[in-house]
Assembly symmetry: C2
Homo-oligomer: 245 residues x 2
DNA sequence: CCCGGTATCCCGGAAAACCGGGAGGGTGCC
DNA sequence: GGCACCCTCCCGGTTTTCCGGGATACCGGG
């Protein structure tokens, strides 16, 4: 527990104290970047979990990120194989990029993602996954050529990441999702019923409409989301946060 | 940013450093209690989210909790109305018990929960919700007659709670769930396929078995979990963490 | 005023899932 | 050697869902 660590921890807490007062996302971005730069990070990004579209770009909340890397990442579809992303689904604790395990079936693609990241100046990184009551929501990634952090600093960065996420989500809240829901209210109703195990007939009774109406709503929901049957639709609607349990 | 705060923060980080080495849950419990007692807390509990049974008791990982309160809480079914629990579903940030909003439709029951907690020596409390990739998982609650924490200390307790949760889950992992999965491997396989929208026939091809086998597995999973159809089974299996997305 | 979206209802035929049996072979435990 | 699972496969009959066409009505924006 060196003095340098304690100083960094104190600065992190100071920064968190200050986040509440900020309302401009760019202020948040600058504040955070100034601090993490001291750990040797050149880049950082705060991002929501891309839903099925599988593109990170529109989901970035704040970022100082290498030019071209993001566009390339989206174009090539790295998101599907990025071991850092996949590890976020399995752990709540922050981890260094090189600690993210390679899954056997996607190992070669995963290695390519990491290799190309290195070529873009991100040889090492640290990721703080963000989860809420609905599951994995996004994360904070820090990256640079080389990174060295003591365990204590990692924990300070962990806490910092959590509050940075809140601040980023708060200050950018206006821009995203004006009202944009994919499904209609009735479609969400029938899917909620289906999730509870009701048949179309039971759902019809429950909602006070005919079976055909229920079937129509299910069909429309299916075509909207692009799913293959009711089970699939319910699962996807859940992931899209159209319905909840 | 008083010296007292900084001292507490340093102690919290020391404690977190030490948690990794502990393997006995009682050591974890004692270590944490010693520290939080300094904030004026007399009690604390680390608990998983009760699944459908709606009883906290079996889900407590570690606790120093008033005699009788837990039994009463379970017997009366407070869990359903506890505003602290309900707020955990909405927020990722820690909060003081009195900051948990009362929902209009359950306000009277909620008030009663808080009232009775006060009678058991818990007039004030602080809760750290825990979420993972599957959603709300549980929480850490600290309570006492009266509590005063500066914002910085609250954040230190936040971080402490996260690591305390990990340590509690790790050290108590053996006791609960000896291997105890409800479903068999194959049953989980077919449910995962169903969640991806595969028909029984497609699942059969994918797994290299006959349709009848798939149907049998689905049927057995249904009767085991007690669900009504495949959609319902998939959803419940997801909640029970038998399968994941 | 028309168009798109929503909500409601209808039909018939095809496909899929569900039900309740049975049954053989495997593993592992007491 | 039973006993309890698990995995595999089979059957016939029933229920439910899915598919593809419809139709009517309401509402709000361009």
């Amino acid at each position: 527990m060196s003095d340098a660590d304690d100083a960094f921890i104190r600065q992190s807490f100071d920064l968190i104290d200050g986040l509440d007062g900020l309302s401009d996302p760019l202020d948040v971005q600058k504040t955070i970047f100034d601090l993490v730069a001291r750990c040797g990070f050149s880049y950082f990004a705060i991002t929501r979990l891309p839903q099925p579209s599988e593109r990170i770009g529109p989901n970035l909340l704040l970022s100082v990120w290498p030019d071209g890397w993001l566009a390339h990442y989206d174009r090539v579809g790295h998101y599907r194989y990025d071991p850092v992303v996949r590890h976020c689904f399995r752990t709540t604790e922050p981890f260094a990029w090189n600690e993210a395990p390679l899954e056997p079936d996607t190992a070669s693609q995963a290695r390519r993602v990491m290799e190309e990241a290195r070529e873009h100046g991100m040889g090492a990184g640290y990721c703080v996954p963000i989860h809420d009551a609905h599951g994995f929501q996004g994360g904070i990634s820090l990256a640079g050529e080389r990174v060295e952090m003591t365990p204590r600093v990692r924990r300070a960065v962990h806490l910092l990441g959590l509050y940075a996420w809140s601040a980023a989500a708060r200050t950018t809240a206006r821009r995203r999702k004006p009202g944009g829901r994919l499904l209609s209210a009735r479609e969400r109703d029938v899917l909620s019923c289906a999730a509870q195990g009701r048949t179309q007939e039971e759902t019809a009774d429950f909602l006070g409409v005919s079976i055909d109406t229920v079937a129509t709503h299910l069909r429309n929901a299916r075509t909207k989301i692009g799913t293959r049957n009711t089970t699939h639709t319910v699962i996807e609607a859940l992931r899209l946060r159209e319905i909840s349990l």
